[in-house]
Amino acid sequence: MMLASVLTTNLAILVLAGFIGFVVISKVPNTLHTPLMSGTNAIHGIVLLGGLLLLGLANLGALDKALLVIAVAFGTINIVGGFLVTDRMLDMFKSRPKPKASEESETKTPAGAQDTNGKGGS
């Protein structure tokens, strides 16, 4: 019974994560699909955790250790390379010296003043 509940809890997490994934990813515009792909690619490098956990097991043979070191190296390449390359790409989308934003910040100031007036009235 205990084990069954672990399984069902994890299944619930799995299903919910799937739905969240669909909702979040659907909001990403076409323009950013390449960085999205490399970013999510980096995220599945999380299998590294599996490699790290198994390296903690007792009585691993030489072959096990060799396989796990390769797995850990693979997972790390996946994570580090993936995030770095995504960062490089996204930086190019952002770093645009564009003198804008001076027009939008003007309208807000009077609202704050009125608010404090209303509170001080009592």
Binding site: V28, T31, L32, G39, I43, G45, L54, G75, N78, M89
Partner: protein
């Protein structure tokens, strides 16, 4: 006895570690939310990276953790390779890079499953028995651990080999054209899949044979090769995206087997993301995913025969850089339509120079980008962003199409099938129904292209025979630079 204890106690009992995992996956989700716009995206990616760091630290906190030397070695190796690869890769080579990173991820999954089998496989197949209304598992980990682990092994192996083949094709180590066994291909694929699944079932049921496990990995590896080798270069983005989804799902399966929530959530989100992108691309190419996986499309002679209706005897008008420059200089609105040719020629900076020159002359310039232009969705956007093209000049297909009618010159640079009017006008064409950039609606069209060779789909482009189209033959980069030179001399 030791297996369930290992699988559950040291992963699960530590509430603190579990909480760290929850924080980690929350950061992944928050990070991906940031990718909804270019201004928040950089931070989003970094948030996700922080989440990853937390997940790794949480794992290392496990009391049972040992073999630190090996961990440092593996991580050090991975960091060295990952950093140098990510720093050095050219933006044009991004699809290969993603394929390669995806492949190592899949490889890691397969290796981890293998070691997991070596450690616990001898206890697979213990059967649940009912005692007084409760189900009790005797002898080994519950069946689902074995099922997910074996699933992860198969999918990880497919993903590793498939991604490597995709990398080889994109890097042009392997020929880009489909390599197929012909009619037997699908039968062979089906056979391999059946074999892999059968081996997996036998293992789960309690065949404690490591040889069988290795055999299963090999069969899955062959399947990965057999599925990707027959796929042509044009379909590669779909394949990479599909394999990305596969690796994600295999990571989620590993998480289910190891009872690790961070792995489950991260893997599943990647699986969802990959599925969405794959589907989007398949729609944009007017192909079904099974048809793409079945292969054969993308540059074969067979397709050419099917498009016989497009056998034109019309004439093609070729132009010179000087004439093109004049045509562009007197336009009031120019739309640039980039395609893979631009990426191959590394022409994005030259294109930016040209459009700057045009903007200085008061010409309104924008870029129309087809969802599958290039070798990856959004690939063109990355290249143009690299060349400092403002984000708001990049128009997606649905925004760009209504604008072509009031466009004086459409400048098509290394794009082909995505501009082919046959997709709208010729029901017999293999690409009929595919959404295209309606370049033919503009007042005139200049196409920069290496030669009259058909594109990856192997279909002739009616656009080139349109009287208002002129062709400028040559390498995209040098042709664009020549136009810019002529333009500044005007």
């Amino acid at each position: 006895m030791s297996a369930p204890v290992l699988a559950t106690s040291f992963l699960q009992s530590e509430s603190f570690i579990y909480v760290l995992y929850i924080i980690a996956f929350a950061l992944f989700i928050q990070g991906l939310r940031g990718l909804s716009g270019p201004t928040t995206a950089v931070r989003g990616n970094r948030i996700a990276a922080v989440g990853m760091a937390i997940a790794v630290v949480a794992t290392l906190l496990n009391p049972g953790e040992s073999n630190w030397g090996l961990i440092v070695m593996g991580v050090g190796l991975g960091v060295a390779v990952g950093v140098s690869a990510a720093r050095q890769v050219k933006m044009t080579a991004m699809p290969q890079m993603v394929a390669l990173f995806n492949g190592v991820g899949g490889g890691a999954v397969a290796l981890i499953s293998w070691v997991e089998f070596r450690s616990h496989g001898s206890t697979y197949g213990s059967h649940p028995i009912e005692v007084g209304g409760f189900v009790v598992h005797v002898g080994g980990p519950p069946a689902y651990v074995a099922i997910f682990s074996v699933f992860a092994a198969i999918v990880g192996s497919i993903s590793f080999w498939g991604s490597n083949i995709a990398f080889g094709k994109l890097q042009e180590i392997l020929p880009g054209r489909p390599i197929t066994l012909g009619r037997a291909q699908q039968l062979v694929n089906l056979l391999l899949l059946t074999l892999a699944v059968a081996a997996g079932v036998a293992l789960v049921a309690g065949t404690h044979s490591e040889l069988l496990f290795i055999g299963m990995l090999i069969v899955a590896a062959l399947l990965g090769n057999a599925v990707v080798l027959p796929i042509g270069g044009a379909d590669m983005p779909v394949v990479i995206s599909l394999l990305n989804a596969f690796t994600g799902l295999s990571a989620a399966a590993t998480g289910m087997a190891l009872n690790n929530p961070a792995l489950i959530v991260a893997g599943m989100i990647v699986g969802a993301s990959g599925s969405i992108l794959t589907n989007l691309m398949a729609v944009a190419m007017n192909r079904s995913i099974p048809a793409i996986v079945a292969g054969g499309f993308g540059g074969g002679g067979a397709v050419q025969g099917a498009s016989g209706a497009g056998a034109h005897d019309g004439t093609v008008r070729s132009t010179s850089a000087a004439d093109a420059a004049i045509q562009l200089a007197y336009a009031s609105r120019v739309v640039v339509v980039p395609g893979y040719g631009m990426a191959v020629a590394q022409a994005q900076h030259a294109v930016r120079e040209l459009t700057k020159e045009l903007e200085d002359r008061g010409v309104e310039v924008s870029y129309a980008i087809h969802p599958v232009a290039g070798r990856m969705p959004g690939h063109m956007n990355v290249l143009l962003a690299e060349a400092d093209v403002p984000y708001d000049q990049l128009k997606e297909m649905d925004d760009a199409n209504p604008e072509f009618a009031r466009t004086d010159v459409s400048l098509v640079i290394g794009a082909n099938d995505v501009t082919n009017p046959a997709a709208k006008n010729t029901p017999s064409s293999p690409i009929y129904g595919m959404p295209i950039l309606e370049v033919a609606d503009s007042r005139s069209v200049i196409v920069i292209k290496r030669s009259m060779n058909p594109g990856f789909a192997g279909i002739e482009n009616e656009l080139y025979f349109d009287p208002k189209t002129s062709m400028l033959f040559g390498d995209a980069k040098s042709a664009v630079s020549e136009i810019t030179a002529e333009l500044s001399a005007l």
